[in-house]
Subunit: 309 residues, 2 copies
Amino acid sequence: MAQAAPSKYLTGDIPATKEFLNKFDTFLIDCDGVLWSGEHVFDGIPQTIEFLRSQGKRTVFVTNNSTKSREEYLKKLESKDIPSGVEDIFGSAYSAAIYISRILKLPAPKNKVYVIGEAGIEHELSSENIPFIGGTDPAYRKDMDPEAWQGIADGSLLDPDVGVVLAGLDFHINYYKIAMGYQYLKRGAVFLATNLDSTLPLNKNFFPGAGSILIPLINMTGQQPLALGKPSQAMMDAVEGKFQLDRSRTCMIGDRLDTDIKFGIQGKLGGTLAVLTGVNKKEDWEKEGAVAAPAFYVDALSDLRAAAQ
Amino acid sequence: MAQAAPSKYLTGDIPATKEFLNKFDTFLIDCDGVLWSGEHVFDGIPQTIEFLRSQGKRTVFVTNNSTKSREEYLKKLESKDIPSGVEDIFGSAYSAAIYISRILKLPAPKNKVYVIGEAGIEHELSSENIPFIGGTDPAYRKDMDPEAWQGIADGSLLDPDVGVVLAGLDFHINYYKIAMGYQYLKRGAVFLATNLDSTLPLNKNFFPGAGSILIPLINMTGQQPLALGKPSQAMMDAVEGKFQLDRSRTCMIGDRLDTDIKFGIQGKLGGTLAVLTGVNKKEDWEKEGAVAAPAFYVDALSDLRAAAQ
């Protein structure tokens, strides 16, 4: 699915960068691998976001990382001097909560959500008044014991009101949580995922991503979850609805072809911009069978500031 | 891959059962789902094994469950009054240890094995004098903390002598263990699996199997491990070498088409017998695209005792 026109390289090309900026009103910006890697913010990022906003552009941070809620993301952005409001943040946990409360709308009391994930998911579910179990509850951070083997097998440990399994990145994943999730799915719960990223870029290396944490459930059930993060168009629809975007004047910026760039192309946005500070490199989209190719690319997001000259 | 001749049903058919027994000298017998489900031994199993041995048949227990060593398996068999010697037990952990020490033969000191799994794997590695880390070491049963994020990312927590990642069923799987395993594979360690069973039948239900515990590593690296359990023919070669089998006079007995029955067919054994006390049912091999079909089947292994009449 590499596109016909070659990807245009903007770094160091001031006229092309200015032309690029003039095409768009809104930039949807991935965070991990674009703004930062873990706690390390890339050079010039705060100034770049400031510059885009000074040019009248709307900057929306669209992230698949479900471990933080929008409020927590805002705190991180602020601590790194990156200008934003909470309304400019759209995460996969929020996307999942919106989907459950406004689209899935299971009738109570069978609308409880079994969560595999961290506090970000819990906060967003709470903000939509969705009942849930699991998640960061210490009762689920346990080893298997005879009661667990028996109670999971005979169902006595299961909550009969669970109608949804929502799985995302869980730094406390264990055998017990996977075994419980499988039982709920086997009983017919709807299978949702915040996102399917296989890895999480952090500290200049890679760690297990949400897609690798929840894949045991896919392997056991043979079922694929509905993913609510990039590149799922369920997320794009939610973003468009919230921000009233003109898709033709919107550009997706990200480091991953299989999430960010695919998300922008499938969403028929006016453009996509790849940055080379994260997972994918130029050779990844130039090779045969590449999952997606960006319309534009830069070495780093801060290269866009050249247009300020 | 369903075979041309229909599977022959032996339950209640005494002449056919006698004819079946006369075809074979050795029975390779799966344990979980055939002899027992968890701690529950199926009716008549001790007497059936006793009967087969009284008929001059060799009974070899071939199991993909890597959580127990051969000695531990023997204890379990004895506690259930099932006659066996330690030499009649062949597990995937033992198969993996044999493969590492006698076939892979990495030069020391770069031959250390990073284990994801339980004590069974450790015991079998020790019996072959293979150095290992991970496994049941309490130091690996930990949450991520700043030192872990940093030390895994920068490599300071990694052992430079690890040349193999051996993954199997681990009831204490966690984020830390997966993250470590990924780093070793990324550095070029050989990727081995005791087995790839997606589920573990227990207490009349299903729990995550080895294949579902290690699949995050497959998802992150895009690499497939070499599996040393059924249906891998590496295991069949090891079994044949150890027991000096005449394959044409050997029958594989099991409950799973994708491991047991496939193992016997691909190993060109004289026959395969499916039992219906475990994972698969008759409709599973009769449907279009079935992974394998047994030559014979019974409702339960104890049905073979009818031939004693």
